[in-house]
C-alpha cells in the first residue's frame, strides 16, 4: 500500500481521512504544497498526479495508492530549477510566495492539457489537436489558482515564456 511521491515510495496513511495535502505537509514535512482553503477554491495545493494537475486538499491520500505524485519539491529533483521556476524569478511571478508552488505545478499540468488538445472555455476550435496558449487561454486555464498579492501579470508572463512558444513546449514534459 504505497504512493510514489517525488520518486520515493511512501506508505499510505492509516487514517483514511488524511488528505494528500496533509500527507505531504504534516506526515512527510514537504511544506511546499500550500493550504490556502482546504476546500478546492484556491489552487495553492496543486500537485501533479501521473502528470495531471489535481487539488491535493480534495484528494484523500488513500485514493492515490499506486499512483505517482509530484509536488513542487520534486519538480526539479536534481537541485536545479525547472525552466518555469527560472521564469517566475525573471518575471517576478510572486510576491509573498504562498500561491507560487501551486501556480507552478498547475502551469506544468496545464501545458500538458493544452498539448493534448483539451479545450477550455475560451478555446475557439474545439477539434484542434493542440491548443495554442494565447494570453486569454493562459489566463482562463490558470484562473483556478488564486493570487492575492496580485502577481498575475508576472505569473502569466512566466508561463507564456516557458510554455507559450512552441519551441519550448517540451519543457512541459
Amino acid at each position: 500500500m504505497t504512493i510514489t511521491i517525488n520518486g520515493q515510495q511512501v506508505a499510505v496513511p492509516s487514517d483514511p481521512r488524511v488528505s494528500l495535502l496533509d500527507l505531504l505537509r504534516e506526515h512527510l514535512h514537504l511544506g511546499g504544497s500550500k493550504k490556502g482553503c482546504n476546500q478546492g477554491a484556491c489552487g495553492a495545493c496543486t500537485v501533479l498526479a501521473d502528470g495531471e494537475r489535481i487539488l491535493s486538499c480534495l484528494a484523500l491520500a488513500v485514493q492515490y495508492e499506486g499512483r505517482s505524485v509530484v509536488s513542487i519539491e520534486g519538480l526539479s529533483p536534481d537541485g536545479s530549477l525547472h525552466p518555469l521556476q527560472h521564469a517566475f524569478i525573471e518575471h517576478d511571478g510572486y510576491q509573498c510566495g504562498y500561491c507560487t508552488p501551486g501556480q507552478i505545478c498547475s502551469a506544468v499540468g496545464m501545458a500538458g492539457e493544452a498539448k493534448r488538445g483539451l479545450p477550455s472555455a475560451v478555446t475557439a476550435d474545439l477539434a484542434a489537436d493542440a491548443v495554442q496558449l494565447t494570453h486569454d487561454e493562459l489566463r482562463e486555464r490558470m484562473s483556478g489558482n488564486l493570487c492575492r498579492c496580485g502577481a498575475h501579470n508576472g505569473i502569466i508572463a512566466a508561463i507564456a515564456d516557458t510554455f507559450g512558444r512552441p519551441a519550448v513546449a517540451e519543457a512541459a514534459e
Binding site: 481521512r17 477554491a41 504562498y98 501579470n153
Partner: protein, 765 residues
C-alpha cells in the same frame, strides 16, 4: 495613542536638536548604486522551490493540532457546554473553554501604546459572554488535525441569546464622532460649506456605500507555538513582531524577554496579519497541556475571527464656482465599528489633502455594532474614500462640461489645504500628464455610451490615487561589517512579499559602499533589534532611517579605530563617505581606506553598531503624501451586464523608485485588489444573525487571472528630499483611486452611475 501622537511625543525634547530641514539623504544624489535597479528578489529561488517555510510548516516534537469552535450567536451567554464526547475521542489531548482557560489580561489595543498589537481589547475566552457571531468558545488539541476537527464537532453548546446590534442603518442612528481618527480630528471645518454648496454654480451631492472586505491572504492565519520551561516560542505570520511580543507579555503576565516570535515569511498580510485570538488561545492551551500547538485557521476560521475592512456610508458634496474652482468640499460619513477596537476607516483623509476649496466640511462618525472587530486593510479609508471622492469629481466635471483631468488641474492647491504645510514633493499633475499620454486619454469621448464593439460597450475612466507618507518611530537597526567586506543589516521587520529583504540589501549596499551581493538583511525574529510594524506603507522608510543612524555610528567607530596610521587620520565622520568597500574623503580625492584594511589593522573580524532612527520630524513640517493617476478602460456587456477591465494604467508619484521590478509588482498588486473592490468583493454580513455568510474563497470572490488585464505602471521617479532614500512606501497607494477609475469607466461605457460597491452585473442591467 495614535501614530501621530506617538510621533509628537517622541519629538518633544528633540525639537531643539533637530532642524526640520535636515539635509537630504546623500544617497538620493548617488547615481550608480544598487538602488534604482531591478535586483531580483533575494528569496525568489526559495519561493519557487517551495522552500520558504511559513508558520504552519514549522515542525515540532510532540506536536498537537488545534481546532476552534465558534459561537453561533452574536450576543448572549453560554448556558451549557458539554465536551465529554470530545474528550473521549482517541487522540484528543486537551480541550479548553472559558471554564478552564487560564486567567488572562485583555490584549492591549493597537495604537493605545506604540508597542500594542491587539486587534481588539476584548478578553479572550475568559467568561461565558459572547460578543460576536463567530467568537471562539472552545479549542481542542489532538494528535492529528483530523482528530481535532472531528472531536470539535462533538462539542455541544447552548446559548442564551441577547438582543444584538446587527443593523447598520439602526446603529447609524446612534453614531458619534470617534475621539480621533488616526490621531487627527474626526471633523475638520473650514468656513460654512453647506452654505457655499447651496450657492454654488455647479454642484453634486451624492451618497456612496461600500461593503465589508476580507484581506483574503492566500496563507490563512496560523501559528506554531511551544513553551520551553517559562520561555515561549511563537512561529507566527505577523506584520508586527515586537508589538505582538509586548502584547502577549502583557496578556500572560510574563517578561517580554521570555518570548521569542519568528515570522520570516508572511503569506500575504495587507493589514490582516496581526494579533487575533487564535495565537492567544494556542499559547494558553500549550501552557496548560504542556505540548506544542499548531493552530492553522481554516478559511472559515479566518472569516470568523480575523476582521477585515468595515462597511461605510459616505456623502460627498461638491460645489464649484463658474471659474471651475471649488466653493465647497463636503465629505462625511459613518462606518461600522465595535467599542473594543479603533479602526474608523479614515475615508476623509484624501479630501483633507487633495483639493483647494473655499469651504470644507469633513467629518467621520462611527456606529457600534456587535460584530467581529474590523481592522486595517490595504489603504484603510483611502481606498474607499477615494472611491466616493473621485467618483464625485467625475460627476462634477461632467456637470461642468469639462474634462475630469482639467478639473483636477484647476483644483490643485498651493499648499496643503487643511494643515497649511508646504508639500514635500507633489507632482500629481505630471503623473496625470504622463499617464494621459500613454493611455491615450485624448481618445475618450466625453459622451457616455458612445463606443460600442459588438455586444460590448467601451468606456474610459480616470481617478486620483493618494496615500500618506508615514515613518514609524522606535525602530533600531544593527549594522555589522566583516573583514572580508560583507555586511549584515538587521532589524526585526517583515517580509510579506513587498521585497523588504531585497530592497534593504540594496539600500545597505549603497549606504556602506559595498556590492549588493555582499549585503544581507536579517529580519523576522524578535531576537533582532526592535522593528516597527509593517503597516501604513511605512516600513521601507522606517528601516532606512534606522540603518542610516546605525551606519553613521559605525562610520564614526571605524574612524576612531582607523587611528593615526590611516590615510583617513584626522577626518571626522562628516568629511567621509562610504564607497568602494571602504571610507574615503568626500572630496573624492585619494584619501581612502578599505574596511578590510581598517579592520585588519585593528585586529578585528567584525564591527557592529546599533542605533535608533531619529523621530520622524519631517511629517511635522511638511505635507507628505504619495499621488497617482489611475486610468481604466472597461467593457460592459450590453446584454448581460458583465464588466471586463480591458486596460489599466497607473501613473505614480511616490518619490524615488528603489527597485523597479519589485515596485511594478507592488503597484499592480494594489491595483488588482482595487479591481476586486470595484467589481466583486463583499464580505456578506447577515443582519439577522450577525453571521458572515460567505466565509470561503469560493464565495468571497477575488480577482482571478482572467479578470486581470496586463497592467501598465509608470512613475515620475522624482525623489522626495525629505524622505530617507528619497522614497515613499508604495504598498497601499496602488489600491486607491481604482474603485473610482473603474466606476467612471463603467459610466463612460454605459451612462450608468453605480455608487454602491461592488459594481456587480445586476446593478448594470
Amino acid at each position: 495613542m495614535s501614530i501621530i501622537d506617538t510621533v509628537k511625543q517622541a519629538a518633544t525634547g528633540m525639537m531643539v536638536k533637530l532642524t526640520p530641514d535636515a539635509p537630504p539623504d546623500p544617497l538620493i544624489a548617488r547615481k550608480h548604486g544598487a538602488l534604482g535597479t531591478s535586483v531580483p528578489r533575494i528569496d525568489g529561488p526559495r519561493k519557487v522551490r517551495g522552500k520558504a517555510q511559513f508558520a504552519a510548516e514549522v515542525p515540532a516534537e510532540n506536536m498537537t493540532y488545534a481546532a476552534l469552535l465558534y459561537s453561533t450567536v452574536a450576543r448572549g451567554r453560554i448556558t451549557a457546554l458539554d465536551t465529554a464526547a470530545t474528550e473521549a475521542v482517541p487522540g484528543v489531548v486537551f480541550v479548553m473553554t472559558h471554564r478552564n482557560a487560564p486567567r488572562l489580561k485583555p490584549p492591549a489595543l493597537f495604537q493605545t501604546d506604540p508597542r500594542a498589537a491587539g486587534a481588539s481589547s476584548l478578553p479572550v475566552m475568559q467568561d461565558a459572554e459572547i460578543h460576536w457571531n463567530g467568537e471562539p468558545v472552545a479549542i481542542v488539541l489532538a494528535e492529528t488535525q483530523e482528530q481535532a476537527d472531528h472531536a470539535k464537532s462533538l462539542i455541544t453548546v447552548a446559548y442564551q441569546a441577547e438582543p444584538a446590534r446587527l443593523s447598520f442603518a439602526e446603529a447609524a442612528t446612534q453614531s458619534h464622532q470617534p475621539p480621533n481618527v488616526m490621531g487627527e480630528p474626526a471633523m475638520i471645518q473650514v468656513g460654512d460649506a453647506e452654505a457655499a454648496l447651496a450657492g454654488a454654480a455647479f454642484k453634486v451631492d451624492l451618497t456612496f456605500r461600500t461593503p465589508r472586505h476580507s484581506h483574503a491572504a492566500i496563507e490563512p492565519h496560523a501559528a506554531t507555538v511551544w513553551w520551553d520551561g517559562d520561555q515561549l516560542v511563537v512561529h507566527d505570520t505577523t506584520q508586527m513582531l515586537h508589538q505582538e511580543r509586548w502584547t502577549l507579555a502583557g496578556i500572560f503576565g510574563i517578561p517580554e524577554e521570555s518570548i521569542r516570535i519568528l515570522s520570516p515569511f508572511v503569506g500575504g498580510g495587507f493589514g490582516g496579519k496581526g494579533l487575533w485570538s487564535h495565537q492567544i488561545l494556542a499559547v494558553a492551551a500549550s501552557k496548560l497541556s504542556g505540548r506544542p500547538v499548531r493552530v492553522a485557521l481554516s478559511r472559515e476560521g479566518v472569516f470568523r475571527i480575523a476582521g477585515g475592512r468595515t462597511t461605510t456610508e459616505q456623502r460627498v458634496a461638491l460645489g464649484a464656482k463658474a471659474d471651475g474652482t471649488l466653493a465647497a468640499l463636503i465629505h462625511t460619513g459613518i462606518v461600522a465599528m465595535t467599542e473594543h477596537n479603533n479602526c474608523p476607516e479614515q475615508f476623509t483623509f484624501p479630501a483633507r489633502h487633495l483639493y483647494a476649496a473655499d469651504a470644507m466640511l469633513l467629518e467621520q462618525r462611527v456606529a457600534e455594532m456587535d460584530m467581529l472587530a474590523n481592522t486595517f486593510m490595504r489603504a484603510p479609508g483611502e481606498s474607499i474614500g477615494t472611491f466616493a471622492l473621485e467618483t464625485a469629481m467625475d460627476e462634477l466635471a461632467e456637470a461642468m462640461g469639462i474634462d475630469p483631468i482639467e478639473l483636477r488641474r484647476r483644483l490643485e492647491p498651493e499648499k496643503d489645504p487643511t494643515s497649511g504645510h508646504a508639500f514635500s514633493s507633489r507632482n500629481i499633475l505630471e503623473a496625470y500628464a504622463k499617464g494621459a499620454e500613454r493611455f491615450g486619454w485624448d481618445k475618450r469621448s466625453p459622451v457616455p455610451r458612445s463606443r460600442r464593439e459588438g455586444e460590448w460597450l467601451v468606456g474610459m475612466g480616470v481617478a486620483t490615487a493618494t496615500y500618506p507618507y508615514y515613518r514609524m518611530p522606535g525602530a533600531a537597526a544593527r549594522v555589522t561589517l566583516t573583514r572580508d567586506g560583507h555586511a549584515r543589516v538587521a532589524m526585526a521587520s517583515h517580509e510579506m512579499g513587498m521585497g523588504t529583504a531585497t530592497v534593504q540589501a540594496q539600500a545597505g549596499a549603497d549606504r556602506l559602499g559595498l556590492p549588493v551581493e555582499n549585503v544581507t538583511f536579517e529580519y523576522g525574529d524578535t531576537l533582532l533589534p526592535a522593528g516597527t510594524i509593517a503597516g501604513g506603507s511605512s516600513q521601507t522608510a522606517s528601516i532606512a532611517a534606522a540603518v542610516t543612524a546605525a551606519s553613521a555610528k559605525l562610520v564614526a567607530d571605524l574612524l576612531k579605530r582607523a587611528g593615526n596610521d590611516s590615510p583617513l587620520a584626522g577626518l571626522s565622520a562628516d568629511d567621509v563617505e562610504a564607497r568602494d568597500g571602504g571610507l574615503g574623503h568626500r572630496d573624492g580625492g585619494d584619501r581612502f581606506e578599505s574596511y578590510a584594511s581598517i579592520l585588519g589593522r585593528a585586529g578585528l573580524e567584525e564591527v557592529s553598531a546599533e542605533a535608533e532612527a531619529p523621530p520622524p520630524m519631517e511629517v511635522m513640517s511638511y505635507s507628505m503624501h504619495s499621488y497617482g493617476a489611475q486610468f481604466c478602460e472597461a467593457r460592459v456587456n450590453a446584454v448581460t451586464g458583465e464588466v471586463r477591465v480591458s486596460r489599466f494604467l497607473g501613473s505614480f508619484d511616490t518619490g524615488r523608485i528603489l527597485n523597479p521590478r519589485n515596485a511594478t509588482s507592488q503597484f499592480r498588486g494594489g491595483i488588482i485588489m482595487g479591481l476586486g473592490l470595484a467589481l466583486m468583493e463583499e464580505t456578506e454580513f447577515d443582519e439577522r444573525s450577525g453571521r458572515v455568510m460567505n466565509p470561503s474563497l469560493a464565495e468571497y470572490h477575488v480577482p482571478v487571472h482572467l479578470d486581470v488585464p496586463e497592467i501598465d505602471v509608470i512613475w515620475t521617479d522624482i525623489p522626495d528630499p525629505h524622505a530617507p532614500l528619497g522614497a515613499h512606501g508604495i504598498g497601499e497607494i496602488g489600491i486607491t483611486g481604482v474603485g473610482a477609475a473603474v466606476a467612471n469607466a463603467i459610466y463612460s461605457a454605459t451612462g450608468k452611475r453605480v455608487r454602491d460597491l461592488p459594481i456587480t452585473l445586476d446593478k448594470l442591467l
